[in-house]
Amino acid sequence: METADGNDRSEQSLEAAASFKSFMLKNSTKSNMNLYDHLTRLLMKVMDERPQNVVDVCEDMSLDVKQGLFEPKQSTLRDLPQTTAAELLAEQQRVLFTRPEETDQEEELVDTPIPNVSEIGFYLEQAGVGLGREEMQRVFLALKQLVEVQALMRCRFWGKILGTERSYIIAEAEYREGEEEEEEEQSEDVAEEEEREAESQENEVDPPPPSSFKPPPVVQKEVIGTGANKYVYFVCTEPGLPWVKLPPVTPAQITITRQIRKFFTGKLDRPVVSYPPFPGNEANYLRAQIARISAGSQVSPQGFFQAGEEEGDEEEEAPRDSCEVNPDFEGIPVPEMSESLSTWVHHVQHILQQGRCSWVNLSVKAEEESPEEEEAEEREEEPDEAEPEVGPPLLTPLSQDAEMFNTPPWSSKMSSILTSQHAIAVLRSNLWPGAYAYATGKKFENFYVGWGLKYGGEGYSPPVPPLPQKEYPSGPEITESLDPSLEEEQALKEALEEQQAAQEEVEDSDEAEEEEDND
């Protein structure tokens, strides 16, 4: 009997267990999971991990198991990470840090066309000027890249010009001899081709009447390697980006740059909208300003450069245009350099009013251009020969610089008062705000960082447009005169009648005389 009861009870308990199991297996309406599976997984996890104090952490484990069930739905589209500008720049700047494997160590130590930019950066920082240490280091590496790519003889970090959208980092370089002449020839060929095309077009159609307007003669630009075009300049907006070469500067560009005042935008191909109209785009404007800044503010301690050997007669007063490094330069003590301006000299030629460093006589040029029209020489009334423009010769000390707008042209001081035995002398230009020069012992350097504009005093007034030109010369045939009034006309008529009457009388008397003669 007991076994039957026992069987009944075990059957009942089995049934109860089965029904409870089916209850546990019922999927939840919300999460489509059931308790049976969940508890199974939880217990399997506990078996696998065997954590300590399981009973305390079992709720967390239960949550973990539930979370683990979520499967991430991966879409078939993959995210394309967008490269930000910062990343692009970083990639380009990474190239700066690669070291070519072919160069020998010995070559690098001997041939150094680049100056020690880190040292220059250190001294500039003492002076309170500079771009920050990391930026200077990047510029240094970029200069090294430039030298390798362009095979330059010498290269220098000239400075930075700020612009409204981007800024320019500028390097001054000198080519090895004979390398840059090819480009000049190419540009001349192109110009000749254009002229031939224009002429052929004119011959096909009847040419319109030529105008008698003679444009004022264009001042020729200086040969590359002399005067304002002595150095070649390369620019880039960020170190690491490729360097762009600036075209040589023409005197017309310099004269117009002297009259306008414009910010740089940072894009080299932007046209410069101004009055008087600037012949060129921003690259030319930049080059012209660089030429002016160099001519006005590049200085060195006196004695560092000495006059180059002059070829030809010493009686000719041709301005010196080159100077050489003086090997016997001893160095001037720093306190002297920071006190008196006569210890500093300009080592870049001054740009004349004409826009060039060496004066060229334009009236002579006009004769050379028209050798065929010999008669024209007699007809043209040549004005008096223009007097040659003379600027201060090379290596003039700064104490002779003129004051403008009641401000002295330079401010000088020592970089530190507390440790003056190791201080450097700093010179700051007031005419070109942003131009600095420092000197210590035998080392010196010039640097420019600024907006690229000259100090203009209180206000800038743009040049006025010229008066309107006369279209035709005024002569008696076309000058207006008043119509004669009635009295004048009558008076004239009477006068004419009297004259006629007088004439008839004379004729009658003549006829009468002739008749008498004939008789």
């Binding site: 003492q126 500079g130 409204t164 981007r166 005042r261 507390l418 203009g456 206000g459």
Partner: protein, 273 residues
């Protein structure tokens, strides 16, 4: 530029070309702390440098409870000894604008004289205005703060009492926000705020947007926004007062401005753009 972050913030604005040498930086670190203690400022800011012909002025600014109103300016020659500048009043501003022309000399007791001949009726009167360089300095610093001091949107909050205070939960502008000029605000009394339409007001929060935005400045284009230092820092340069540089590192609360220049307003700006 906050005195606590001076050493690394100077690297961030060095793109404009000016830094301080190590000696000046260390002197500033010491003297600004002493200054804060003596004058009981909440915060001391290194405002910048005004370059004179003979000497340069270093300017510091102490901020009190209200960042916009409780401001005191001090100047020094060697970053150690600081002298208090008088607050700029309207009459001072008028005098300076008439009397002082040209560059700063560098001597606070220098007197600028300006002779003007006024015609009153039939008499010609010569009016001589005399201005001391110290007042010119005070007025210049005040004008620069009024016209071109910049803060990013959200960096300062206006409390319900009307006090302007540093927002401690400012996380910085995002990279895309930092490219737009209207996320940068003038840190001075707003002049154009009431002219905005109601639609625009809907987007703004009164606690954060109680200042004028830079994009409303006339002439347009008088600010230059660039990313420097390998595109890490957003740098704003003013073209109206040449020499004012504002920096902000996006996604961080670092921001500040510094003025290093000759203290003259660029009146030729419309010709130059």
């Amino acid at each position: 530029m906050d005195s606590n972050s001076l050493s690394y913030s100077l690297e961030l604005v060095a793109g404009s070309g000016y830094t301080l040498n190590v000696e000046q930086r260390t002197a500033l670190q010491t003297s600004l702390v002493i200054l804060q203690k003596n004058y009981k400022f909440d915060r001391v800011v290194f405002w910048g440098k005004i370059l004179g012909l003979n000497e340069d002025y270093f300017i510091a600014q102490g901020r009190g409870e209200d960042e916009m109103k409780d401001k005191k300016n001090l100047y020094s020659f060697n970053c150690m000894d600081w002298f208090l500048l008088p607050p700029a009043t309207d009459s001072m501003i008028e005098e300076v604008s008439r009397g002082a022309k040209g560059r700063f000399i560098g001597d606070p007791s220098h007197v600028y004289e300006h002779h003007e001949i006024l015609r009153q009726g039939k008499r010609d009167e010569e009016v001589v205005t005399k201005v001391k360089e110290e007042s010119r300095l005070a007025v210049t610093v005040h004008q620069i703060d009024e016209e071109v001091s910049v803060v990013p949107r959200g960096a300062f909050v206006k409390s319900p009492h009307g006090l302007v205070q540093v927002n401690r939960s400012f996380g910085g502008l995002s990279h895309s926000e930092a490219r737009k000029l209207d996320n940068f605000l003038h840190f001075s009394k707003p002049k154009n705020l009431k002219k905005k339409s109601i639609l625009e007001f809907g987007d703004l929060t009164p606690a954060l947007d109680f200042l004028d935005a830079l994009s409303d400045d006339i002439p347009k284009g008088s600010w230059s926004l660039q990313f420097e230092c390998a595109s890490k820092v957003c740098v704003l340069r003013s073209l109206l007062w040449l020499g004012l540089t504002f920096y902000h590192v996006p996604m961080t609360p670092q921001h500040g401005y510094i003025y290093v220049g000759d203290g003259t307003k660029n009146l030729d700006l419309p010709f130059m753009l």
